[in-house]
């Protein structure tokens, strides 16, 4: 089940950040329990983010693993100047973009790799599912950068400054990407708004 409750604000962003800085310091001292805590906390969030960007499950697996292992293998590279979450997402983003560049083959079946399940009674959920299907297809036609901004804003509920840090780009670029992505998504959804409750 989706756990947006993991959102930092829910637990008091500052307290959460301080706790994670302490965990990172313990990881620097090779504390395996601390690493496990971070691993369990970030694996699902990073996996979703990477799936949005990469859309290729085999790459997600690899990049996700590599990203979290940076924290374990080279904890010194996290200097504590940003939040741990920002740092982890920026590594994941960088590695994902590198993986995409290396990847030359186009995706054969985008809809097949990122799709929804109809659940057990399709007729009851057909309306809601159609909106989801349209959204997933609309997302698939955006660039990886646009999808990253959309996911970080809507699902991970990050601010535009943090997203700019993660994507290593100007704040205005984040705003513009989001603006265009939303316009595209709204256009694709034009016929579906009546289904929205």
């Amino acid at each position: 089940m989706i756990e947006p409750a993991d959102h930092v604000e829910a637990k008091g962003g500052d307290a959460r950040n301080r706790e994670e800085l302490r965990l990172a310091a313990r990881i620097g001292r090779r504390d395996l329990k601390a690493f496990e805590t971070i691993y369990r906390r970030y694996q699902p969030r990073l996996a979703r983010f990477l799936l949005h960007i990469l859309r290729r499950p085999h790459l997600v697996e690899e990049v996700l693993d590599d990203t979290l292992m940076v924290l374990w293998n080279r904890p010194d590279s996290f200097a504590g100047r940003s939040k741990l979450s920002t740092w982890l997402f920026s590594i994941a983003y960088r590695k994902a973009m590198m993986a995409l560049r290396k990847q030359e083959d186009p995706i054969e079946d985008q809809a097949g790799e990122e799709r929804i399940s109809p659940g057990s009674s399709p007729e009851q959920h057909a309306g809601a599912n159609r909106v989801k299907t349209v959204l997933l297809e609309a997302l698939s036609r955006l660039s990886a950068d646009h999808r990253a901004v959309v996911d970080l804003t809507y699902f991970h509920e990050m601010g535009y400054r943090e997203i700019a840090q993660i994507m290593d780009c100007p704040v205005d670029t984040v705003k513009t990407r989001m603006f265009h992505a939303r316009r595209h998504l709204r256009q694709e959804l034009a016929g579906e708004f009546s289904d929205w409750v």
Binding site: L32, F35, S117, S120, S121, Y154, M158, R186
Partner: protein, 219 residues
């Protein structure tokens, strides 16, 4: 659709640029004040705000998932962590089952956003396997503590708690364990009623999966 023909430095444009972060509560005070000031006097941007909120909700709820190949993923990720766990935890400090359960459940954490039934089944099976270990383990030393799970159920994320409870009552099922990281619950159902009870549960629209699991060994 509240699309507007924008001019450069148009207050509509600058407001609508910021709406996503107004909606997710991440604007700083001055940005938020500017957005609110404009919203007060602009119907079009208020309509855009409503759309924005709905769009965010839909996208945040998208069941994005991949067929990640659980066995492979587990081999790749879990062994590291299983080693880690063995290093940090002495076996006698924690029941053997618990550790196994956590290890098995970890790759299934990815199932947190899973939707496909086939994958859920794979997750459920993975997540369940340690239960059998526990049953065996406990039956050696403490028969009374055996939880006796013999079925597994997963609810749709939007299932209402009261419906869930009524359905379980009606099926004569009792939750003995869960939720796992993947959101599965282990049930105990009287063995002679189990097949009928599972058919009953499978009929419910808010239940994704209801499956028998390793039956109790004879007592």
């Amino acid at each position: 659709m509240a699309d507007i023909i924008f001019l450069r430095d148009d207050p509509h444009r600058s407001t609508q640029m910021l709406l996503p972060w107004y909606v997710n509560g991440q604007l700083d005070a001055s940005d938020a004040a500017a957005v609110e000031a404009h919203l007060c006097q602009c119907d079009a941007c208020r309509a855009a705000l409503d759309e924005e909120a709905r769009l965010k909700k839909e996208i945040a709820a998208l069941p994005v998932h991949a067929d990640l190949g659980w066995e492979k993923l587990q081999r790749r990720l879990a062994p590291d962590l299983m080693d880690l766990q063995d290093d940090v935890r002495r076996p006698e400090k924690q029941p053997r089952f618990h550790q196994a359960w956590r290890n098995m459940a970890r790759p299934a954490v990815l199932g947190a956003f899973a939707g496909a039934q086939i994958m859920l089944l794979a997750v459920a099976v993975l997540a369940f396997r340690p239960m059998a270990d526990r049953a065996e383990y406990r039956s050696l030393g403490a028969p009374a503590a055996r939880p006796g799970g013999n079925a597994i159920v997963m609810f749709r994320p939007d299932a209402v708690e009261q419906d869930m409870r009524l359905a379980l009552d009606h099926a004569g099922a009792r939750i003995v364990e869960g939720p796992t990281a993947a959101g599965a619950y282990v049930l105990n159902i009287s063995p002679d009623r189990r097949d009928a009870a599972l058919r009953d549960l499978q009929e419910r629209s808010f239940i994704l999966l209801a499956q028998p699991i390793e039956p109790d060994p004879p007592r």
